[in-house]
Symmetry: C2
Subunit: 559 residues, 2 copies
């Protein structure tokens, strides 16, 4: 052993075992990183990836999306997931890479809001499907009405992270253009929260321009018809903003840049950096604007970072983010949640760490929603529903930090309010910040929490106006009916007290009713206190009881 250590034999031996690990191999072993270690999540992730692609493609092509989703039970714990869209279709050459190559896509490198952010995509579902069932994925695609459709059966070669085509042919397809994906996989189908049914319903809310036709494993068909014919504005790709750039990324950018001077580098590579701002940054960084980016050292890059931090910058452009819009959001919510009152708001754009974002919120109150349960919370990021990790999410934190009592709900300390209400929050951003542990809980950036709370308060205020008005009307109605119930008694009492004629009974009641009418205007302006209502009840019933007692005594006296 000692000799081995001296000569380094062990190190040499160990070195022989070192090898590259393929990306697909890595992810097939570490499936939990992609959401596939859990059979219930597997079906959800597959539906999500396919729908994201379909909606994105339709919007790129300015087509109002019509999605067909089918989940078919193939056996115990085995399902076929089918998703078909009317989008632009996929050219023949790209089909294999898009569906059967991990880390291949179009959205990763552009700096704009998009549904898929991670860059894994549908290939992970194809891989998971073949690992658990051995069956290839089946893709049908047509790019124009004058073309035939491509039909491809393929699997992902996990050793090479490359597609392997098992079958391909041209077929006739009735659709003008679109894509159809079929994947068989080992999965669990359930209803309830965190189910495909719930996912599609929520997707329908934040994509009111899309029609979704869904057939579940029980062969029940559920249609989510579109509520608007207006396509959302397309987000525009922008350059990164200097406030958000990390030192190591900056060093890389300097290395790769074609700009000959630091001044040009700053104005070319970043958004919202004009000539003056670039000069100021260089001054604050104590660097010459004529420095050559490729020749800058690490220390100089660090000085540049500090120069950027010390310079006042204009916020990044926000057309890279496309909100749903308050009106469309409310339409979406109206069609999926049965309530008596709706309110929605779309906040102006804001920034966290150089990344533009927009918060939108909506609420649905009353109707068939149960009043004694905790509020239903719907969370979305870039129009995509987040079904997991609600407790850890910045949305939950913002809801809890908001005081809902002035808005007519009850709420314990540090808890989600209780009442017949659905609260919806949507964050649209170039880069949605998720927490370390999860891809479904939004990280607690103070800028984001602040915006969510402002949006919630906006909706809450409108809610409380509605609730107060409703209460006033109810209270008035109650008071009126009290008064109407008691007018006869009051009339009788008056008659006795002031020794009026019983024949005047009718007149007195009329008079009292008149007085009521006169005061009705005033009643509308009074904010009735529910507790005052109770006091009123008590007084009335006391009067009633005294009445009874007196009657009783009188009766007794007769005994």
């Amino acid at each position: 052993m000692k000799i081995a250590q001296q000569s380094g034999d062990i190190a040499i031996e160990l070195a022989k075992r070192q090898r590259e690990i393929g990306v697909a191999e890595f992810f097939s072993r570490n499936r939990h990183l992609l959401g596939f270690d859990n059979k219930k999540k597997a079906i959800l992730t597959t539906v999500k990836e396919a729908i994201d692609n379909s909606l994105d493609a339709c919007e790129e092509a300015d087509v109002l999306p019509e999605l067909i989703v089918e989940i078919i039970e193939m056996g115990p714990d085995r399902y076929r997931v089918v998703i078909e869209d009317n989008g632009p279709g996929i050219v023949k050459e790209q089909i294999p890479n898009i569906f059967a190559k991990l880390l291949y896509g179009s959205k990763f490198h552009t700096f704009k809001m998009s549904r898929g952010q991670q860059g894994i995509g549908i290939s992970a579902s194809v891989m998971y499907g073949q690992l658990t069932t051995g069956r290839p994925a089946r893709i049908t695609s047509k790019i124009g009405s004058k073309k035939t459709a491509q039909y491809v059966e393929l699997i992902l070669d996990t050793q090479k992270n490359a597609p392997k085509i098992m079958k391909e042919e041209e077929i006739e397809w009735a659709k003008d253009h679109g894509t159809r994906v079929e994947i068989d996989l080992e999965a669990t189908y359930t209803k309830g929260p965190q189910s495909v049914d719930e996912y599609l319903k929520q997707t329908a809310i934040t994509n009111p321009h899309a029609t979704i036709i869904y057939t579940n494993p029980k062969a029940e068909q559920i249609i989510f018809p579109r509520a608007t014919d207006v396509l959302p504005a397309k987000p525009q790709a922008i350059k990164p903003h200097p406030a958000g750039v990390e030192l190591g990324v900056l060093i890389n950018m300097l290395q790769w840049s074609d700009s000959r001077t630091l001044q040009a580098f700053l104005t070319n590579e970043f958004s919202r950096v004009g000539g003056d701002t670039a000069k100021k940054i260089c001054e604050n960084a104590r660097l010459l604007p004529t420095s050559r980016p490729k020749e800058m050292s690490r220390e100089q890059a660090e000085s540049l970072m500090n120069g950027i931090k010390a310079t006042k910058l204009i916020n990044p452009p926000t057309d890279c983010v496309s909100p749903i819009g308050a009106e469309a959001l409310e339409k979406g919510l109206r069609k999926e949640v049965n309530a008596e009152f709706y309110s929605s708001v779309s906040r102006p754009p804001s920034v966290y760490r150089g990344n533009p974002f927009i918060i939108e919120a909506a609420i649905a109150y009353g109707g068939q929603q149960p009043g004694d349960t905790v509020a239903s919370v719907l969370r979305f990021a870039n129009r995509v529903p987040l079904l997991y990790q609600q407790g850890a999410c910045a949305v939950s934190k913002s809801i809890i930090k908001t005081n809902w009592k002035p808005y007519g709900l009850s709420q314990s300390q540090g808890a989600i309010p209780v009442g017949p209400i659905t609260i919806l929050v949507h964050i649209a951003s170039v880069w949605v910040p998720f927490t370390s542990e999860s891809k479904e809980a939004i990280a607690h950036y103070p800028e984001i929490i602040k915006e969510i709370r402002l949006a919630l308060q906006d909706c809450g205020r409108k809610l409380s106006m509605y609730i107060n008005k409703k209460r006033r009307i109810a209270t008035e109605g109650k008071k009126r009916s009290y008064i109407e119930t008691y007018i006869p008694h009051v009339a009788d009492a008056l008659i006795e007290l002031v020794e009026l004629q019983k024949s005047d009974d009718a007149k007195i009641r009329e008079l009292l009713a008149e007085i009521l009418e006169k005061h009705r205007g005033k009643l509308e302006d009074i904010e009735f206190d529910p507790e005052a209502n109770e006091e009123f009840d008590e007084e009335m019933s006391k009067i009633g009881k005294e009445q009874e007692t007196e009657d009783g005594e009188e009766l007794n006296d007769d005994d």
Copy 2:
């Protein structure tokens, strides 16, 4: 637009945007998948990866590990992490790939217990360090006492997922052999749970053969000396077991196999499948043993899966798993946790989904541990501490499901018990199953939970024997002191009652003490009931009070 759709222009345009995404690019954007989206976790992950490598290397080389760990504060939120070991060192050619290439390593492809399971490794820390500070990692390595040491400064090229050497030279180094890693990174250093300090202390418990010398940012040096000179047994690589293989993996294995027949394939590729078992599997699968693996269809592979499931198989070999051992585990716990009683157990090997695993547990009771707080729970997987996600872990579930009251602790329904106790659970396995959402919570396989509970009950029983004995001794001591306190009074009472001489007082006390001695043996055998103790107290004090009252009255009578 319509023309574009007909001719497929949009699809063609979209196709141009499709690109490959580099692995390193992907992970630098999705840092949360690696534990680097959080500055506190960043430092912990870096320390963990480096220590895993050092311990693994020392054990491969049969060297008792001596690790030097330094965390140096370089500025606000910036730390230098240094880890040096006395292992076999790394050959010059391998240094760049091991430290600056993601998905490169030696443990991923072998089927045996190992600390690092994911295959990411130290390269992620190097990448994170350079992204946040711009500084390269600095590696020093020496493979034999007759060699010079290699010194390398390198970064990870994120576009290519390849190392880029900034500097390299040969230097003199006093050590005979070993590796030293220095990484600067943006991080947060804290004390308390989920801190580096806690991580190292727990690592010292489950690696009692290692000495760790730790200098924290306050320049305090903490030494964890080894408690044993015995190296753990080396786990042996085994072939996969048929019970654990997935359909897609089986299909791949059939494709890649060199075996000419199905019979040979089964006996060659799997562990514990001999000729007879292979024949039975083929029978149950309704396949000819002479079938050619490469020519088998998907349906045939599925039949083979079913055949495997229908055949009784011997459990896999367990030398792929190397437990710590009850004795070593207790030694480790003793040196790090101050208590009055320790107990440990190492269960026999078991299997979940074809993967061998061993559960070990230990407890430390009493001493300086506070008695009114919830039990301290330490969890380990393959000797590595798990600091996060305790609530979701199978270990917690097993502790909660176990009834600790018979063992002398208090415990609410569905909760961890309360008491001055540390509970340690270690799972050693070829493949430790983590939950979907986390790499630190063990998945709730019934086989695993059962084994953990059996281990806990074993320790619990020993604990209750200790506690009962302790209680008995205390109670006896108490009773004895009662008796000794009251012997004088009893003596006096006897003297009065039977009109003995006061001069006999001494004799009587002697007699009573003798009687006490005679009965002492019997007292040891009686399980004293604490409540009986209280009754005894009450009686004695009553007698005392009566005495006082009489005395008082007597005094009063004298007034």
